[in-house]
Structure formats: structure tokens, C-alpha cells
């Protein structure tokens, strides 16, 4: 079982460290031939507009879309959630997402960095203990379509974590807080699919 981390830009090393700690074989993915061998993929935090440009410039965007459509387990944090959204608000001109999650995501929804924050969230699917979540110029899910499910909301009701089949997206960054449960949950999807194949 090989798990890839999209390594075009962003905090991909933090994700790779968490996944290795959990026992996964991890490779960095920057090229189509690297994507071809992974059983699951993490799209890290970073700048979504930069990841989009590089993914298209190096022939990775279409293979990514094809693998997402074919059921590859993918977990996106922050920029990764934006990449996975079917629809993105406040994108830069010409920015494209990969799609897969039936959601509308607003990029940079909280404003400038002075509005970035950390807080505790209740996420029942991960257990009773709250998840400590760090939001860094993060996006929010403005609407959840019928195919997707909200996993977590802020106290004001805004959705910040979603799931749809093998796809998982969070507005926040478990990879920098020592919170491993999202990655475990993602790896359980990878394992289930690998065993079924």
C-alpha cells in the first residue's frame, strides 16, 4: 500500500511525516508516473492557485481528475479541500479545481492572516475527544450538495469538514497539530479499497 502526497507546493512534508508515523509507505507526487502507483493521495495545505497552475503545467491535472473519478481515496486539507471542491468561490482568475466533492467552497473565507485562529471541534465520526483545529487563511464549505456529508461545523454553523465516499476534505490542518485521527480515517479508506481490489 503506497500513499502519495501531492508535492507541488505547501506543507507536504508534514503530511508525509504523519502518514509514515502511522505506518504507510509514502511518496511525493509531482508527476503523472508517480500518481499512477499510489493507492491514496493527500493534497496538502498551501496556495491552491499555485498548485492548480503547476498541476496543469506538468500534466498532472487530468490524470488526477481521472483517478479521483475512479474512486482513489483522497484527503485534502485547506488548499487541498479547495482542489477537491466541485465549485470554488473567490478563486483567482482562471483558477480550476479538480473536483470530486459535491460542495461549494469559499477560498480564504475568514479574511487576512490576523483572522486565522485555532479552536476545538466536535467531530463524532472520529470519536468523543474534540479535534484541535488550526485555520490558516482557510476556506469554508458554503454549501454541501446531496452527494456529500458535513463532518464538522464551527459553532456558527459553517461547515469545515466534509466526506463523500473515498474523498475527505478539511478547512483546517491536522498535520501541524499532532492530530492523527483524520489521517487514520483516510488510511482506513485506502486499506479498505486496496483489500477489495
Amino acid at each position: 500500500m503506497t500513499v502519495g502526497v501531492l508535492a507541488l507546493q505547501g506543507d507536504f512534508r508534514e503530511h508525509a511525516d504523519v502518514l509514515r508515523t502511522l505506518g504507510a509507505d509514502v511518496i511525493h507526487v509531482r508527476r503523472p508516473e508517480e500518481l499512477a502507483v499510489v493507492d491514496g493521495l493527500v493534497i496538502p495545505g498551501g496556495e491552491s492557485s499555485v498548485m492548480d497552475k503547476l498541476a496543469r503545467a506538468f500534466g498532472l491535472a487530468e490524470p488526477l481528475r481521472a483517478r479521483i473519478r475512479s474512486g482513489l481515496p483522497v484527503y485534502g486539507t485547506c488548499a487541498g479541500l479547495i482542489m477537491l471542491a466541485d465549485s470554488v468561490l473567490d478563486a483567482i482568475v482562471g483558477q480550476e479545481s479538480l473536483g470530486g466533492l459535491d460542495v461549494v467552497v469559499r477560498r480564504n473565507a475568514f479574511g487576512s492572516q490576523t483572522q486565522s485562529f485555532e479552536t476545538d471541534l466536535d467531530i463524532p465520526v472520529l470519536g468523543a475527544d474534540p479535534v484541535h483545529a488550526v485555520f490558516i487563511r482557510g476556506p469554508v464549505v458554503e454549501s454541501v450538495g446531496p452527494a456529500a456529508t458535513a463532518l464538522a461545523t464551527l459553532a456558527d454553523g459553517r461547515v469545515v469538514a466534509v466526506e463523500q465516499g473515498n474523498l475527505l476534505g478539511t478547512s483546517f490542518h491536522p498535520e501541524i497539530t499532532g492530530e492523527y485521527r483524520f489521517h487514520e480515517y483516510f488510511l482506513s479508506k485506502v486499506r479498505a479499497r486496496t483489500l477489495a481490489a
Partner: protein, 300 residues
């Protein structure tokens, strides 16, 4: 406001250092107009540094270099949605207060501007907005982190297009970290004294083998190969100042530097993006600069 706000914590070290984590593997570009900011964002910059004059012009025009006009910063903020950074003079805590009020995403307490205090740097802990500071060696980096810097950039020599100082500084910082990692515990007290840095930070680095914050490289990067070299030397990302908008074809060069930063270890990609970029900035050899004109020597 909802009840959740009472548990939300703003401006923590994790939140401040975290933004720098998200910039890793990226290129931060100096821009002096909203139009340049648009070109930078379109080319794939992870952030822009808003300033009134690029270092090459500060150098050639002389005079006191200060924080940018708030109108300029706001125009750039309005033009792009990637993070916007801005520079305050070393020690000028009121410029920093102003930049925080303008809600920039990062403040660069920068030697490129004229220092406002030749003894003290800004006490950066009291701000919600994070700070990046320059360093030429590990001791300087740790003094800045001790003052609250959430990101470090090796200084290089800004506005020259000569990458040799950038090389020297990133190598110096990396090799001093490696030396700490190989020391026994009882040697770290003297190491802290010699680095003129707090013992707790020195001990932490000896243990982890890396800085507790993100380390970018700056100062003289002018080509895709320069950027890739900095990444191979261990930088987490690069700042490009005068190198882009003082060159013949800024949009193409900016996009090429972005690609070379991601594929820093792939010479075939670096070769491909380096083709036909037109003229690089003319540049000045750092060895031709008289000592008083070396910006990297500002900061203490």
C-alpha cells in the same frame, strides 16, 4: 457573535508559524504596484511583498527607505487574493503597528529598509500578525525567533542579482545547525554563548536538527537555477526581489522561477524553463560594494 468565539484563539505561535508552513516550496515576489502584484499572482507566486521601491532601486537612488504608503499596500491587497506581506524598518514598532492595522498577512522586519533602531529589534510577540526576519547566521536567526519571529529568511545581499551572499548565508545557517546536532549536551551551554542565542532554543535545535520556524532564502536570486540551488541547499522556499521586475520579461521569468522551485532537483525541468527568458537583471557584484552599502550587515 456566537458562543464559539470565546474558544477561538488568534495570533498564537502555531497560527503565525503555520502560515509560513503553507508557503513552503513557493516563491514570494517583491512588487511595487498593483499591476505587478497581478503579474506575480498569475505567474504562481505564493505571496507578494508590497514595497515602494525594489532593493535595486533603493540601492541606486539612495536616501532613507521606509514602510510603503498605506494606499499602495491597500491597492495591492485589493488586487490579489494570495497573502500580502509588507516591510517595516528594523526596530520601527510603529510601522509594524500600522501594517497590522492594515491587515497585511506577514510583516518583514527588513534590513532592506533603513534601520530605525540600531540597538533593538521589534518585540514581535505582542502582534497577531506574524513576522519574518532576515539572518546571516544561526545566532542571528535564533535572536529573531526569541523576539517572536515566526519565519526566517537568510539575507543574501538584496538588490544585487548576485546570489553568492545568499549561498553563503543559507550554507552558514545549515552548517551551524548540523554542528549543534553533533554536540554533546554539556557543550551546548558554550555553543549558546558563542552563538549569542538563548540556551533553550540552542538545545531545541540540537535535539530536532532544524529551526523551529520555516527558513526561506533571499537576496540576489535572479534566475530559475538560482532558486533551485537555494532549494537544493535546504531552503524551504525563496524570496525574489529585484530579480523579476528588473528583468526583460517579468511574467515569463516569474513563472519559470516558480516551476524551478518546485522541480528544484530536476535539471531537465530547470533547463526547459530557463530557455528564452530574455535578459536577467544586470546586477552588481557584491565584492564591488563598499561595506557601508551592504544591507546584510544591518541587524544585530
Amino acid at each position: 457573535m456566537t458562543e464559539s468565539t470565546s474558544t477561538e484563539q488568534f495570533g498564537s505561535s502555531r497560527v503565525k508559524r503555520g502560515l509560513a508552513d503553507m508557503l513552503k516550496g513557493g516563491v514570494i515576489m517583491d512588487v511595487v504596484t498593483a499591476e505587478q502584484a497581478r503579474i506575480a499572482e498569475d505567474a504562481g507566486a505564493v505571496a507578494v511583498m508590497a514595497l515602494e521601491r525594489v532593493p535595486a532601486d533603493i540601492r541606486s537612488q539612495g536616501g532613507v527607505a521606509r514602510m510603503s504608503d498605506p494606499d499602495l499596500i491597500e491597492a495591492i491587497k485589493a488586487e490579489v487574493s494570495i497573502p500580502v506581506m509588507a516591510k517595516a524598518r528594523i526596530g520601527h514598532f510603529v510601522e509594524a503597528q500600522v501594517l497590522q492595522a492594515l491587515e497585511v498577512d506577514y510583516i518583514d522586519e527588513s534590513e532592506v529598509l533603513s534601520p530605525a533602531d540600531y540597538v533593538n529589534h521589534i518585540d514581535k510577540w505582542g502582534y497577531n500578525v506574524p513576522f519574518v526576519c532576515g539572518a546571516t547566521n544561526l545566532g542571528e536567526a535564533l535572536r529573531r525567533i526569541n523576539e517572536g519571529a515566526a519565519m526566517i529568511r537568510s539575507k543574501g545581499e538584496a538588490g544585487t542579482g548576485d546570489v553568492s551572499e545568499a549561498t553563503k548565508h543559507i550554507r552558514k545557517i545549515k552548517s551551524e545547525i548540523a554542528q549543534l546536532s553533533s554536540m554533546s549536551k554539556d557543550e551546548l551551554y558554550v555553543a549558546a554563548k558563542e552563538l549569542q542565542a538563548p540556551y533553550a532554543l540552542v538545545a531545541e535545535i540540537a535535539e530536532t536538527g532544524k529551526l523551529p520556524v520555516v527558513l526561506f532564502t533571499a537576496g540576489g536570486v535572479a534566475t530559475p537555477a538560482d532558486a533551485a540551488m537555494m532549494m537544493q541547499l535546504g531552503a524551504d522556499g525563496v524570496f525574489v526581489g529585484s530579480g523579476i521586475f528588473k528583468s526583460g520579461n517579468p511574467a515569463q521569468r516569474a513563472a519559470a522561477v516558480v516551476k524551478a522551485t518546485t522541480f528544484y532537483d530536476d535539471p531537465a525541468v530547470i533547463a526547459e524553463v530557463s530557455r528564452g527568458l530574455g535578459e536577467a537583471m544586470v546586477g552588481i557584484n557584491v565584492s564591488d560594494l563598499a561595506a557601508p552599502h551592504r544591507l546584510a550587515e544591518r541587524g544585530w
